[in-house]
Amino acid sequence: MYQYDQYDQAMVDARVEEFRDQAQRRLDGKLTEDQFKPLRLMNGLYLQLHAYMLRVAIPYGTLNSRQMTALGDIADKYDRGYGHFTTRQNLQYNWIKLEDAADILADLSKVEMHAIQTSGNCIRNISSDHFAGAAHDELIDPRPYAELLRQWSSFHPEFTYLPRKFKIAVIAAETDRAAMRLHDIGIQIVKNEAGEVGASFYVGGGMGRTPMIAPQIREFVPLDQLVTYAEACLRVYNRYGRRDNKYKARIKILVHEMGAEEYTRQVEEEFAHLLEQGVEPPLAELERIKPFFADPAFEDGPKSIDRSDPDFALWVDRNTVRHKHDSYVSAVISLKPVGGIPGDATGDQMRLMAKLAKQYSFDELRVMHTQNIVLPHVKIADLHALWTELEAADLGAPNLDTIEDIIACPGLDYCALANARSIPLAQRISENFAKNGRTEELGQLKLKISGCINACGHHHAGHIGILGVDKKGTENYQLSLGGSEAEDVSLAKITGPGFDEDGVIKAVETVTDVYLETREDGERFLDTYRRIGMTPFKEALYDK
C-alpha cells in the first residue's frame, strides 16, 4: 500500500491548518456562507438535512487496518457511532459539527487520510478496481497509475474551479469493476501490439440527469505521457465546458455537444503543446510508487474448502472471488444485512474489519462501489475462521451481487437534494426476497436506488434501477431496466409511469417474475431483458 513520505504528509498537514483557519474565519464572521461554502466543500464538508456531513477520501478505495480503525474511532468520537460507505468508494459521516471539523481532519492526517477534494468543482478522489492487485484477470495493478494521478490532481492550480466536479477511474482488466465508462475520464491500462503498457482514455461519461457512456478518445497513451494527456483533457474542458447552466456543465455535455471527434482533436492539439512544456512528472516517480503495491508474501496452502457447514459454503460461493494466487481468495464483507441500511457500518464493525484485515489479509481492505468491503488476500485455509467472526458481527450476509446487495444513496433520510427516500426501499426489498427465498434463484441481479435525478445510487446502471421523484409533495418512484456499469455497460430505460412505495416494491417482484418465467439457460436478468426487450415487462407491470 502507498505510504506517505514527508512531502505528502506536510501537504495534508498544511491543509488541515489552512482549513482550521478558514473554519475559524467563518465562525468569526470574516467569511460569509457564500464565500465559505466552496472552501468547506473543497474539504468534503457539506451541509445536509440534519447536520454537516463530512466525506472522507479513500484513494482508489484502498486502506489499511490503522486507517479503518481511525475511521471507526472518529465515528464514535465525533459522530453518532457509524459512517456510510458510498458508491464513490468513500466514507461519509452524517453528524459533524463545524467546530470539530478541523480536529477530525487532524485525526485523519495522523493515519495519512484526508477529505481534500471530495467535493467542489475540482478533480475528485480517484476510483479504481476494488480487486486491484488481487484479481486473476488483471493486466497489472492499476493503483500506481491512480496514485500518480492522485498526486497530480491534488491542489492542481489550474483545475480547482472547473465548470463542475470531475471524476476519474483507473482500471487494468477487461472486466470493469469500477464503472469506468461512467466517469468523466475512464482510463484502462492496456498493452499495445508491441507489448508496451499504456493507457486507453475514455472521456465524457457520467450519470446524473443526463447519463452518458464515455467514448474512447485515445486508444494508447504511453505511460510517460499519462499525466500530460490528462492535463490536456482537463484544459480543454476548463476552457470550453459550459458555465451558463450547472446542469449542462459536466464534461459529458461538452463532449456530446462538441462531438467526440472535435473534442479529441482539441485535446490532441493541447497535448502536443503540453508535451513541449514538460509537465509530466519524472518516470522515476512512477517507479518509486510501484513497489508500494508489490504483491505481499503469498504462501502456498490448501486450495480446497471443507463445505460441510452449508451456511459457510453458501457464503463462500456467494462472497468470495477468485484470486491470482490459487491458495487465496478475495472475500467480500457485505454491508447489506437483510433489512439493513446499505453501506452503513458502526465504529465497532469498522474496528473489527480492521482487525480481520490485519489478521487475514495482509493488513489491507478495499471499499467497493457497491458499498461493501473487500479483504483482498485471504488464505483459503483461513476462510472458515474469518466467516465465523463476520457472522458474529452481523457482517456475514451471503449476498454479493444478488438482489439483496442493493446500492442505495442516502435519499431523503439524509440528503438535502432528495425527492424521496431510498433506504427504506432497499430495506423492504431485501427483506421481501430474503423471506420469499428467491434470492438464490435470481442469481446476479443488480438493483440500484437513487433518491433523486443526481443518480448517486447509480440507478441508470442497475439491472433494475429505481429513481425517487416528487409527485406533488409525495414520494414516487420510477422503475427502469437494463442498465449495467460493467464492461457490458448500458443505460437503463424507464418502464413507464411511476409507483408509490408499495407499488414499486411490488413492481420489482413483478419484473423478477417475468424473468424467472422467460429466462433461458444461464441467462442473468440483464441477459433476458436484452433478449426479450421491454415489452413483456411493461405488459406485466401495467396491463392489468
Binding site: 456562507e33 447536520a51 463545524l98
Partner: protein, 98 residues
Amino acid sequence: MNILTGNDLKTGEVVWWDGQNWSLSVHDAVDVGDMGEQILAAEEAARRVNVPYALVASRTEEGVRPAHIKDRVRALGPTVRRDLAVPTASKTGWDWVI
C-alpha cells in the same frame, strides 16, 4: 403559518425560530407572518444560524407540522434511524413524517 428554520452555524443542528431564539424543537416554531426575510437576514448576519429559510407549516393537535416531507424529516431525524430521533419532537410518532 410561516415558520423559519436553518442549521446552527457551529453544530449544524436543525433549529427553528421560536420568536426569540432558535429551538431544537419544531413545535416551538412561531408564525412570523411576513417578517420572515427580515428576521432571517438579521439572524444570519449575527451568525446564529446557517442557510436559514422560511417555509409553510400548519398547527395541528400534534404540534407544528411543516408542509413538506423534507422539513418533517429534518424536524424528526432520519426515518431509518429512529433511535436517533430529535428528542423534543418525538411526541408526534413517525407516521407524522410520511
